[in-house]
């Protein structure tokens, strides 16, 4: 076994990540009177109702008490703490208006109230979708009669709001009695009412109130008590096909509700599996929401690409699930309800648009954390938009809000939001970690360590390795001399399995040569050599003729064909060995996307690969588009991708072993690993942004234009991948799919990693 020390190959621009995750703590918590009060008084409401997080308790919430009543009503339902759809939805991002400030104001409540704007908001006609409102209405029906006393308190509290005239008063009281009940019951002390109002984000013009109340009564009667009466508990509400509407703009909400009630209800999707303690469900809903919002945005915002993955989301498990609905462009039904308003709409309008455009009978689960989660998602998206528009003030506010909201969540959502908030903060404040060679002594070793933990905590890297190995094994069938070039050697975890498979193949093992390429080590330790040594030991025990060489390169583009091919015969003795050409395989696992940071690098590397004349090139890449479009698109796409990824880690093997120190450490380190990717995707630009993931289709285009053709990965690899996944706890969530000869592994319906094999087009 020959072994050479790593050879430095020029100083390219291989970027090295260095980031220490820093939590951005919100300093605005103290100002969040509302939130604090709400949490104190309405434990069930949770921070979701708290005045829009860090935005400040009193500010900016010119909402009608109606919504709050409605909210409280729903909350009053016996069993669970319901969320406040209104407050939640009020936090949804606004469509970008010509006046960015107004957009921000319409977002989560900010300390400076803008009465005029709120007036405009109130006057916005019919610009809301009703899915949320319908839910609220149903809750009304189910909740029973309300108490007027609490509503009085609301009323009095509402007087504090600047623009609020006299609330309903008696006109709507009759209709609102029931609505007022629940909310009030949840501890709406006078001092809390204010915050409740603020938090709820309902907007009703005083002059409209009587009319709105009347319509609400009509809506209630239209919906009938039969349906609602059977739903005593909130749980049954959740189980039913309620739709989460935004009741912020009551008048339009009620109008839409009535129109919707008159129209035949679309087929109801199966009830979601509601489990308050199931972070999985929450995460699933978390995933769905940005989609929903995005669809609305597609109508209101400048066009944003609607991601393809939602197709086929399990309807039963997602709050906003309903595959057909999500995929369908606004149906005539939806368009009927989507009423554009030229005047700045209420903050909820966009979200209601989103909700209804997605699907009317979307089952919804109204939970406090759920609402806070929805609010959190929208805050994230709004912040991304603000950042794209260079609105530093707004984005600054939003980032703080995000941090506070994220603290209210649990599980994967909290972590994802935390990482994204940190990345956004880094982008806003320009406190970017230094990226590049020599940025930190232990960054490369740290990277490898994180990579190891990610390897252990989830099936993704194992899937990648096993699939690539299977493709290489099949390509090497019958060859006596084989050579594998690994673009990302790291710890060499891929190769023991290949060595074992080669040792056991019929006909005996070939003589195996491995060329490993890795980044330079700052502390002068030769990690590549150590890895090679270990592999050589293993090869010796299983009696495979093994030869290893390591190359140190800061960037793959620094490689030249002669380096990879050369010195082929140095360690060989005998002419017969030279006669038989080596079969070469090139393996790249999560390495090629980094080359996209510098134009021309990928083409050069692919040219080099082609020059080596490999039998097979195995490429494994993340299945996501984090490289195209605007920052906002990238952000949204990344939010989806990493949410799914974190969900899978949480729901998979690692989750069950959080008590186990090793498993818990694996999970934590994997999250740090992913967090660094998130930071890179969001906060960096230009040559520093190395996490430029692209989808399988894009890679296919790149490979074919470089002169490669797809080599289909056989069914053996598919079976092996399926078997591997079956071994992972939570394996039911993982999906292996075969797509045009390539395998993808994903979580539920979202593919996360894609493995493909290529050979030189035209055949050898």
């Amino acid at each position: 076994m020959g072994r050479r020390h790593g050879e430095k190959v020029g100083a390219g621009g291989r970027v090295v990540q260095e980031a220490r995750p820093q939590r951005i703590t919100s300093p605005a918590v103290t100002a969040n009177r509302a939130e604090g009060n709400l949490t104190a008084s309405e434990q069930d409401a949770g921070p979701g109702g708290g005045g829009g997080g860090g935005g400040g308790g009193g500010g900016g919430c010119r909402r009608g008490p109606d919504e709050r009543l409605r909210d409280g009503d729903s909350r009053a339902s016996p069993s669970c703490a319901s969320a406040e759809p209104g407050s939640l939805l009020s936090s949804m991002p606004e469509p970008p208006r010509s006046d960015p400030n107004s957009m921000i104001h319409r977002l989560l409540p900010v300390p400076d109230p803008v009465p005029t704007k709120s007036q405009n908001v109130l006057s916005g006609p019919d610009c809301d979708e009703l899915p949320y409102k319908k839910n609220i209405s149903r809750k009304f029906c189910g909740a029973g009669s309300g108490s007027s006393s609490s509503w009085r308190r609301l009323q009095s509290g509402s007087m504090k709001r600047e623009h609020q005239g006299d609330w309903y008063g008696g006109a709507v009281e009759g209709g609102e009695q029931e609505k007022g009940k629940g909310m009030m019951g949840v501890g709406a002390e006078d001092e809390d009412v204010d915050e409740l109002l603020a938090a709820l984000g309902y907007k009703v013009r005083s002059s409209d109130m009587a009319d709105v109340a009347q319509k609400l009564e009509q809506a209630e009667m239209a919906m009938g008590t039969g349906i609602a009466a059977s739903d005593d508990a909130l749980l049954s509400h959740l189980a039913a096909d309620t739709v989460h509407y935004n009741p912020s703009d009551i008048s339009t909400w009620v109008d839409n509700l009535l129109s919707e009630l008159n129209a035949p209800p679309p087929p109801l999707s199966p009830p979601p599996r509601f489990d308050d303690s199931s972070s999985l469900d929450r995460q699933n809903r978390f995933l769905e929401l940005p989609l929903v919002t995005r669809r609305a945005s597609a109508e209101v915002y400048e066009p944003m690409p609607v991601p393809a993955p939602p197709a086929g989301r399990a309807t039963g498990r997602f709050a906003f699930g309903s595959d057909s609905q999500l995929d369908v462009a606004p149906s005539p039904r939806d368009s009927k309800r989507i009423k554009f308003c030229s005047s700045p709409p209420s903050s909820s309008s966009s979200t209601t648009d989103a909700a209804t455009s997605a699907a009317s009978p979307l089952p919804v689960v109204v939970v406090d954390t759920q609402e806070a989660g929805i609010r959190l998602v929208h805050a994230l998206l709004a912040c991304a938009e603000a950042v794209q528009q260079e609105n530093l003030k707004a984005s600054d506010t939003l980032v703080k809000q995000i941090s506070v909201l994220a603290a209210s969540q649990g599980g994967a959502m909290r972590k994802v939001a935390g990482y994204f908030a940190e990345a956004l903060a880094r982008r806003i404040y320009r406190r970017l970690p230094r990226v590049g060679v020599g940025s930190s002594f232990d960054s490369v070793a740290f990277d490898d360590m994180l990579h190891m933990h990610f390897y252990e905590s989830g099936p993704y890297l194992k899937f990648a390795h096993f699939t690539a190995n299977q493709a290489i094994l099949e390509a090497f069938a019958g060859c006596r001399r084989v050579h594998v070039i690994d673009f990302g050697m790291r710890q060499g975890l891929q190769w023991p399995a290949l060595l074992q498979a080669l040792a056991l193949r019929p006909g005996g093992p070939p003589s195996f040569r491995l060329t490993g390429i890795g980044p330079p080590q700052p502390d002068n330790s030769d990690a590549l050599q150590e890895v090679g040594w270990k592999l050589a030991q293993l090869a010796e025990t299983i009696r495979v003729d093994f030869n290893y060489r390591g190359f140190v390169a800061t960037s793959l583009a620094d490689l030249e064909p002669y380096m990879l091919l050369g010195q082929d015969t140095d360690d060989r003795v005998g002419a017969d060995d030279i006669d038989e050409p080596e079969a070469v395989a090139v393996n790249s696992v999560l390495e090629l996307h980094q080359l996209l940071a510098r134009p021309g690098s990928l083409e050069k590397v692919l040219r080099t690969v082609r020059a080596v004349r490999p039998r097979i090139v195995t490429v494994v890449e993340q299945e996501a588009n984090h490289n195209a479009g605007t920052f906002q698109e990238r952000f949204t796409e990344a939010l989806h991708y990493y949410s799914t990824m974190f969900d899978s880690l949480e729901g998979g093997a690692a989750a069950a072993a959080t008590a186990d120190s090793a498993g818990g450490r694996d999970l934590t380190m994997s999250e740090v690993y992913l967090g660094r990717q998130i930071c890179n995707v969001v906060a960096h630009e230009g040559a520093d942004r190395t996490e430029r993931h692209e989808t399988l289709a894009q890679w296919r285009g790149r490979m074919t234009s470089a002169g490669f053709e797809s080599a289909p990965i056989g069914s053996n690899a598919f079976k092996q991948a399926s078997m591997l996944l079956a071994l992972f706890a939570g394996g039911d969530g993982y999906r292996v799919e075969e797509r045009e000869g390539c395998l993808t592994l994903g979580w539920h319906t979202r593919p996360l990693i894609a493995a493909s094999a290529w050979r030189i087009a035209g055949g050898p």
Partner: protein, 169 residues
């Protein structure tokens, strides 16, 4: 009386069982190995606690090889001899079962216990193949190899995913 009876009984037994021969299993280790080789892993491990002979026989590689082959799907029947040497080099069949096959079977059994309503995509793969088990085994063996100079290695953890309890959510 008892004393009289006993010899009488013994004789009767001997006479009555003239057609049947006694084979104390402990007299024949190979036969014992054959029998033990038909057990599953857990029973075999338990059997190793019976007595010293059983413990010794129960640790035979041939016995564990039979157990492994009985419980995994062997993809290709070829290169059986080669398999033996490779597995021996990596640590032996007993170790293979303990580290890879046993936990994998437990994991699959746990999944099966959850009900037949599992996803169809992986329903066809509710078994472990020898090649997969060997791949995992080789990775674990590789992790246990010391580095140059005996640098502190992280404890091998590539198989931890098998040992973690099944997430029944």
């Amino acid at each position: 009386m008892m004393m009289l009876l006993l010899p009488h009984r013994e004789e009767e037994e001997e006479g009555g069982a003239a057609g049947r021969r006694r084979f104390p299993i402990n007299d024949n280790a190979d036969l014992l190995a054959e029998v033990l080789g038909r057990l599953d892993g857990r029973s075999l491990a338990v059997a190793g606690c019976v007595c010293r002979l059983w413990s010794a026989v129960g640790r035979r590689e041939a016995v564990w090889e039979a157990v492994c082959h009985r419980h995994v799907a062997v993809g290709r029947a070829g290169a059986a001899g080669g398999t033996r040497s490779v597995v021996a080099a990596l640590g032996g069949y007993r170790r293979l079962y303990r580290l890879c096959i046993g936990p994998a079977l437990d994991r699959l059994a746990g999944v099966r216990r959850q009900g037949p309503a599992v996803s169809s995509s992986s329903s066809a793969a509710r078994h472990v193949s020898l090649s997969l088990a060997l791949s995992l085994f080789s990775i674990d063996c590789y992790e246990r190899l010391g580095g140059v100079g005996g640098r502190q290695q992280q404890p091998p953890a590539s198989l931890l995913f098998l040992c973690k309890p099944v997430d029944v959510s």
